[in-house]
């Protein structure tokens, strides 16, 4: 277990909250799903940050940065469709 460090433990500990959001995004009415997608995307950004620190690949932090900046217009477009056509 020498390869396990606090960052990796924290990243693994965030998997159940992510699974919670992903599970809620897969079931129920569409109004609940969009909230679950926002929840899951935030937890995913944290997991990516922690994994970047855990494996000491600092460039992986760009993935989290990209996810945050891409999920913002994605969610706005999603809600725009949600209030009109979906």
């Amino acid at each position: 277990m020498a390869f396990m460090n606090a960052w990796l433990f924290a990243a693994l500990a965030l998997l159940p909250p992510f699974a919670c959001g992903a599970f809620m995004a897969l079931r129920g009415p569409i109004a609940g799903r969009v909230v679950a997608v926002q929840f899951a995307s935030a937890v995913t950004a944290f997991i990516l940050i922690l994994l970047a620190m855990a494996v000491d690949q600092r460039s992986f932090l760009d993935l989290a940065l990209t996810l945050v900046f891409v999920s913002y217009p994605g969610m706005l477009i999603y809600t725009h469709f949600l209030e009109r056509w979906l």
Binding site: P16, F39, A42, Y72, H80
Partner: protein, 97 residues
């Protein structure tokens, strides 16, 4: 000392995420769940950002973590308002699938 501070901050981030996830599961309506999603992105993000800064202060890594947290703070309320508005318009139209 820095290692202990980092581990404590990581534990706080995990605790905040779990608390938000439990609230997300237990709260009944999508409007209530918006609070849990906002709480996780703000509180857990704060502790994660602080852990990165405590681990490697005054570096490009800390700057990126701070930018990510700032983006979450700026975009989170906008998204929450947008989702809440969309849900209210759907409720008023009365064509929930």
């Amino acid at each position: 000392m820095t290692g202990i501070a980092t581990e404590v901050l990581l534990a706080l981030a995990v605790a905040a995420s779990w608390l938000g996830a439990i609230a997300f599961l237990l709260l009944p309506t999508p409007y209530d769940r918006l609070h849990a999603a906002s709480y996780v992105s703000i509180s857990a993000g704060f502790f994660v950002m602080l852990a990165v800064v405590a681990s490697d202060p005054a570096s490009a890594l800390a700057l990126k973590a701070a930018i990510i947290y700032a983006a979450l703070i700026v975009t989170g309320p906008i998204l929450t308002h947008s989702i809440g508005r969309a849900l209210r318009l759907r409720d008023e139209s009365g064509d929930e699938p």
